[in-house]
């Protein structure tokens, strides 16, 4: 059955690194040339497989950072004790090969359907590298010309640790409000928020629940718990808050 691609099955594909971009000192975006990629939606992820010379393999999931129609990109945060991420952030070079399979996920997805004028507003809440799938949604929104009112609340430890900062700040002209909260250190004169995300902060910056926003929360597990509970506390129906959690061994 070699070479037989079963419909509906995930097939490992060998991509070639087209480009790498250093986003922060510990975060890198990797753009891949992938033949046979079936396309993806904003919010989906893919699996990466590394194989050592002795045949040992390690797999990790990473959110897709690019919009549908763009070359597949992932953004990887270096974990010092990680088995996979240090290779991706420190070793991988343009021209190198990388095995991936995907796209994966059909729940934490924003298709843009209903995003025409008068469509549901978009409420995005990111913790750390949880920004990655939400960035794919923002790029998708721009590419399809959607004008749905959009707010991004992004919690990072410090300003230098904000991923995609220049890009996020550039969305301001287009109906996207980006609100940062810096939880560990703030630059001198910082006029933005500095507390952890809780119901009080969410009540201040989120769309009113009555606007029925499409809502996506992504980040480390404790962050997502706090943000999702906070949104429910200010009246968001739990069933309308889509969440994606990652841990130290995951995305």
């Amino acid at each position: 059955m070699a070479g037989t691609a079963l419909r509906g099955r995930l097939t490992w594909l060998t991509g070639t690194v087209r480009d790498v971009t250093q986003e922060t000192p510990t975060v890198r975006t990797i753009v891949l040339d992938l033949t046979g990629w079936p396309g993806h939606e904003a919010g989906q992820h893919l699996d990466v497989r590394l194989t050592a010379e002795d045949g040992y393999t390690a797999e990790r999931s990473y959110s897709i950072a690019s919009a549908p129609g763009e070359p597949v990109a992932i953004t990887v945060q270096r974990l010092d004790d990680g088995e996979v991420s240090p290779y991706l952030t420190d070793e991988l070079r343009p021209g190198d090969e990388l095995e991936v399979r995907g796209p994966i996920g059909g729940y934490f997805v924003w298709t843009g359907a209903g995003a025409e004028v008068g469509g549901r507003p978009l409420m995005l809440v990111a913790g750390g590298s949880g920004i990655v799938p939400l960035r794919a949604m923002l790029r998708h929104r721009e590419r399809i010309g959607s004008k749905v009112p959009t707010r991004l609340l992004y919690s990072a430890r410090s300003l230098p640790e904000v991923i995609y900062r220049a890009e996020l700040d550039s969305y301001g002209r287009d109906g996207v409000q980006v609100i940062y909260t810096l939880t560990r250190s703030q630059p001198p004169g910082w006029a933005g928020y500095s507390g952890r995300i809780d119901a009080r902060l969410l009540a201040e910056v989120s769309w009113p629940a009555g606007d029925d926003p499409a809502t996506f929360v992504c980040g480390p597990t404790p962050f997502v718990e706090a943000a999702a509970n906070g949104l429910v506390a200010i009246g968001y129906p739990a069933t309308q808050v889509k969440t994606e959690r990652f841990g130290a061994t995951g995305r």
Binding site: R9, S61, G102, G106, F108, V224, R245, G247
Partner: protein, 101 residues
């Protein structure tokens, strides 16, 4: 059923069903994170993406986020995946999508 060998439920350690999206495609042959699972213990009916998932077990453990009961346990034995779905009363395709054949 013996549950003592599974990691104790704890929100801080849990991922969610998105993290096993690839594994679920391997098992079911289709996207399953948006599929609706009904907990056989408490009756909560939620997308599999919202289950509490523990990957530190030998395999994957998916628990109900409402009552912490086991919903799906997957153990990989040599090249075979052993799948226990007895914690689910029902598993349905999301609204608007056909049930996978």
């Amino acid at each position: 059923m013996t549950t003592g060998s599974y990691p104790e439920p704890g929100p801080a350690a849990a991922l969610d069903g998105n993290a096993v999206g690839g594994l679920l495609i391997e098992l079911f042959g289709t996207e399953m994170t948006a599929a609706l699972g009904t907990c056989a213990t408490c009756g909560a009916r939620r997308p599999l993406a919202e289950t509490a998932v523990y990957l530190r077990a030998p395999g994957a453990v998916m628990r109900c986020r409402s009552c912490q009961s086991l919903l799906i346990v997957v153990a990989r034995v040599r090249a075979l995946n052993c799948v226990d779905l007895t914690g689910l009363a029902a598993l349905d395709a999301p609204a608007g999508r056909a049930v996978p054949a």
